[in-house]
Amino acid sequence: MSVASFDSMSAELRQRRTRFWAMSAIGLVLALIAPQLLYSVFLMMALCFALFASSFNLLFGYLGLLSFGHAAFFGGAAYATGWAIRDWGFTPELGILFGGMVAGAMGLAVGVLAVRRTGIYFAMITFALAEFVYFLANQLPFTGGENGLTDVPRRAALGFIDIGTSGRLYYFILAVIALSIWALWRIVHSPFGNVLKAIHQNEPRAISLGYDVQKYKIVAFVLSAFFSGIAGGAKVLVFQFAALADVHWSNSGEPVMMTLMGGMGTTLGPSIGAFFVTALQFYLAELGEWVTIIYGGIFMIFVLALRRGVLGEAPDMIRKLRRLFTKRAAR
């Protein structure tokens, strides 16, 4: 490799890094003042789903593996976190970490089975195994069955920071989610992440280069499950309960839809999709069942016409609009 190309590569890397930090700085400022403008429970819910979708995107966007069973990790961790905080007296951050680790362990079990197949089979295997987790959540004694696991207290974070009110809790949740999304960004742009992208682009070549593809897929799956678990654990702190809806298969569809709408394989796309979808569900809640229909309809339009999502399509749209305007001006 010549020196020049090496330089241009590091320049590109530097540019990407500046862009990421600039975007995150803007995002962080927005996030800090957001509770002044919007309802904080809505914001926390959107943050949890932003992480849920981002962790799903690690698999789908960068590795091309469509998991249709991520609700198992989100919901499984929700139960684990709730149980650890309520019955074992864990502090919130340890509870969330415990939830993430339980989800990671579940991810290992599911991943070992699922990575044996790709494409559509992968989706169906994860879907079926998540149903198995749903069954367990419904039957096991400590989940509370139909009622769910309720009355999870909001203990002081780290043992001394009071997060009892929604206003205070928001900043705690923001810290957890921002840290996790940053970690995901690091993973994607690490040598490990590059191997994932290589596997996505050309699996036989990655194998012939000596990479143990199956192992990489399993590790990515475990990481994705772990961060989905963090999202599920954070959600328990917000609503103070874990319920069957968290592990239900329709919840597995949420990150899929959010990621596709926002733009798969982009850093911030899944978060944008998550905010959009959560806003739809939150502010149109009085429409009841119609929300599901509108949501499903919008998703179909994205699959049919806007497959690259908001972030993917936006540059093209802007270019087209600009061309339209310059033409008018010339005339």
Binding site: G119, I120, A128, W249, T292, G296, R307
Partner: protein, 296 residues
């Protein structure tokens, strides 16, 4: 857990399993044919099954049209609906990764289910057993309702009819050839796009037919599709997607596995199926039928 089962209870469970298996076989058969030709896993297959049941129910309660005409009319309606979906939407996804077909039909399933929930709420509607199939057979050790026997027989007849249509007729040979090499078949002057459309219609119609068959047994509810599609996915993974024989055998076998699990440990009905799926995946990667997407 109950290990002291009588032989009667086991026989009863096997008969129940055969009946459930009849539905699983029909549904996974439709799913498999669609996948074999279109390379699309139809997530809305369960929704189409539910629509079939509702069309049957509506024909009876709004127009007084009974079970036997509904067995023809409902599949036709759902088949036409399928053709419409294929022509307007799925056609835009050909050539893309088959994940997009799954995603589109997933959104569609939610829309369809949502619409039916608004119109009919989640409570089930009852559909009477047709007069001809009322009553039951007392075989001495077990009692069999005639309708259940009819379901098993009808399912077997339809499955083997379709197996024969694909393996024994000229149209079937075109179909199999287009799976192997669509462009070559087109070069021979066969209208492959029309064949694809008709296949999707056939798969949808099959789901509708299964819905009508299921109406007198299960209550007709907007949720019936999404609850059965989970098991059907497991059947399809075990039987091998795109394999007709795999779907039929897998459907019946899993029905029996499920019913036996249920007899021994009543809360765990679905667990047996997923354990079976896990074992098959660990031992044999391509599903029981071996090769990947092939209609054989």
């Amino acid at each position: 857990m109950d290990w002291n089962l009588t032989w009667e209870a086991v026989a009863q469970a096997i008969m129940l399993g055969l009946m459930n298996g009849a539905f699983y076989a029909l549904l996974s058969l439709g799913l498999s044919i669609t996948f074999g030709i279109l390379d699309i896993v139809n997530f809305a297959h369960g929704a189409m099954y539910m629509m079939g049941a509702f069309v049957g129910w509506m024909l009876l309660s709004y127009f007084g049209i009974g079970f036997w005409p509904a067995l023809i009319l409902a599949p036709l309606a759902i088949g036409l609906f399928g053709i419409l979906i294929e022509r307007t939407m799925l056609v835009r996804l050909y050539g893309l990764h088959h994940i997009y077909g799954l995603l589109l039909t997933f959104g569609m399933a939610r829309v369809i289910e949502g619409l039916f929930r608004i119109r009919f709420s989640v409570s089930g509607q009852r559909y009477p057993v047709p007069d001809l199939l009322k009553g039951g057979l007392d075989l001495g050790f077990i009692y069999m309702p005639i309708y259940r026997v009819w379901v098993i027989v009808a399912s077997l007849a339809i499955c083997f009819g379709i197996w024969f249509a694909i393996n024994g007729t000229r149209l079937g040979s075109y179909l199999r050839a287009s799976i192997e090499n669509a462009s070559l078949v087109r070069a021979f002057g066969i209208n492959v796009p029309r064949l694809v459309t008709l296949t999707f219609g056939l798969g949808a119609g099959l789901a509708g037919l299964t819905g009508v068959l299921a109406a007198p047994i299960f209550s007709v509810s907007p949720l019936m599709g999404s609850s059965i599609i989970v098991v059907v996915f497991a059947v399809v993974v075990i039987g091998g997607l795109g394999s007709i024989m795999g779907s039929i055998l897998g459907g019946f076998a899993l029905g029996i596995v499920e019913a036996l699990t249920q007899a021994f440990y009543s809360q765990a009905s679905h667990v047996g199926i997923f354990i079976a799926m896990g074992i098959v995946l660990l031992i044999k990667q391509g599903g029981l039928s071996g090769s990947t997407a092939r209609v054989t």
